[in-house]
Symmetry: C2
Subunit: 155 residues, 2 copies
DNA sequence: GCGGAATAGTTAGCAGAGGTAATGAGTTAT
DNA sequence: ATAACTCATTACCTCTGCTAACTATTCCGC
């Protein structure tokens, strides 16, 4: 564990909750920025679009509202993302069978293909970095990932 | 450890590096989104501005280029953020003593006051959530925070 | 059954934060 | 002295999020 030595940016000040909050915030913001930047030319889908396709791949067809809740965005934002995905032919919108207000969104065949191919490329950078970590560090992140997501899910 | 049960969004698929990458990406993106939203009215500084003030508070005066590198953004983006902070009186720009091309950015007294006051408010939401975790979970995040930041730092 | 409240989605408009390309000013090297 | 490079800035564009306002549909109370 020598990584703290050459890291002037994040010192070991995460002792208090406030300190941990600050460190976590910085790390999350920077990592997300890097992730957004690591979008090769062959990957025409944005991070958000990939996120939506990923949720659809995991959970099957969902309504716009459910997608918005899952991704923790407001409905209008999800409408835009879904419209964009529909235009590119990756998702299909269909009317809800019993409730005429709702719209059901599902993956198209193209979208299903794409989510696999693009996910591999999309996560290549991060997966490569993960591979460069020690097994212990990976274990920490493996435990941390669901906690992070849970933090994001809370009201 | 029962949290995985009521979390359909993030299953325990983070066994492979690719799976971990995907989970981590989702968690980071969602948490960052929540963080950006949790900005009370009395907090007039944006997340990025806070980030820059935080770096200056830790590392002292830096040039625009160094700040851009630290926050992993392109120089023009940092110029804009710094200009905004200068306008609000939180940082001071001064010419580099030996190199006329560079611009040195430092915290003003007001900025130094503000970084303390606002950081407390800014992290209140996250700190509160952290307090609701178990000590073990906090320990995981405490280990994870520097790893996340290190992932973001890598070329 | 019908009229008002609630809900789902959309549209319109705005702000923040990021990027690239081109420019200007200053420094370094030939 | 001039050519080449570096740092910061300017100009412009994109993406992604938000709120507010509107439409369409459903649900509820009478």
């Amino acid at each position: 564990m020598s990584y703290a030595n050459d890291m002037p940016t994040v010192e070991k000040v995460a002792r208090t909750d406030a300190g941990l909050a600050a460190e976590l915030r910085l790390g999350v913001m920077r990592l997300r920025r890097r992730l957004a930047g690591e979008r090769h030319p062959d990957n025409e889908l944005s991070l958000n679009q990939m996120g939506v396709l990923g949720v659809l791949a995991r959970r099957g067809e969902l309504t716009v509202g459910e997608l918005a809740a899952a991704e923790k965005v407001q409905p209008p934002s999800m409408t835009r993302t879904v419209n964009c995905l529909e235009e590119s032919g990756d998702v299909v919108k269909s009317p809800h069978p019993t409730d005429g207000r709702q719209v059901v969104v599902g993956l198209s065949d193209q979208g299903r293909d794409r989510v696999l191919a693009d996910r591999a490329r999309r996560d290549a950078w991060l997966a490569q970095r993960l591979r460069e970590l020690t097994p212990e560090e990976r274990a920490v992140l493996r435990q941390a990932a669901p906690i992070l997501d849970r933090l994001a899910q809370q009201d």
